[in-house]
Homo-oligomer: 106 residues x 2
């Protein structure tokens, strides 16, 4: 099935985190536009998460360790590992989750 | 774990399809640089596949139906569905597979 990203409705899931979502049987793709300064508090989940930096700079704190993410970087977060983050600049990020994020089905 | 794409070794898996690979517990990320005119013959696999068009134009034939993929498009191929393709221009594509592509562990 072909998905045109710009045709997918957006949802502001956390303040400043505006996402478009595609779900398959086993994965969820979250295409985020993130406003500068927006933060996601520490949390964890069963799902594996792969953070694909597309534009901007994002500080990702994983298990207490800070990482400065920039385009060309891909960060893999294992299942159940605590993480939080902050958009240092406006960012575009693709997060891929497995299994599906049922809580991102709107 | 942080991966810098440019530091990942490349592998030419099919003629003209040069990939960098990241494997998690449940997924494989294949970052392709594809030469213009390169083709992948019809095949299918258990894995779900999500094709993220980043640069260029790619003709993807799925279950006998042709689709012209361009940047901003995301194509989801279910498990076991036959597909083939051809790079109309040089392309950059991110393919995400679930479960892991053991055959892409080099």
């Amino acid at each position: 099935m072909n998905h045109l990203l710009e045709k997918i409705a957006t949802k502001e899931v956390f303040p400043g985190f505006v996402g478009r979502f595609i779900h398959t049987q086993t994965m969820t793709f979250a295409f985020w536009d993130i406003k500068q300064g927006s933060m996601v508090p520490e949390h964890s989940h069963l799902h594996e998460q792969v953070v694909n930096m597309q534009e901007g700079e994002f500080e990702l704190i994983v298990d207490g360790q800070p990482h400065l993410l920039q385009p060309g970087m891909v960060f893999t977060i294992p299942s159940h590992v605590k993480h939080s983050g902050r958009a240092i600049t406006p960012c575009k990020i693709l997060d891929v989750f497995s299994p599906v994020r049922e809580d991102y089905k709107f």
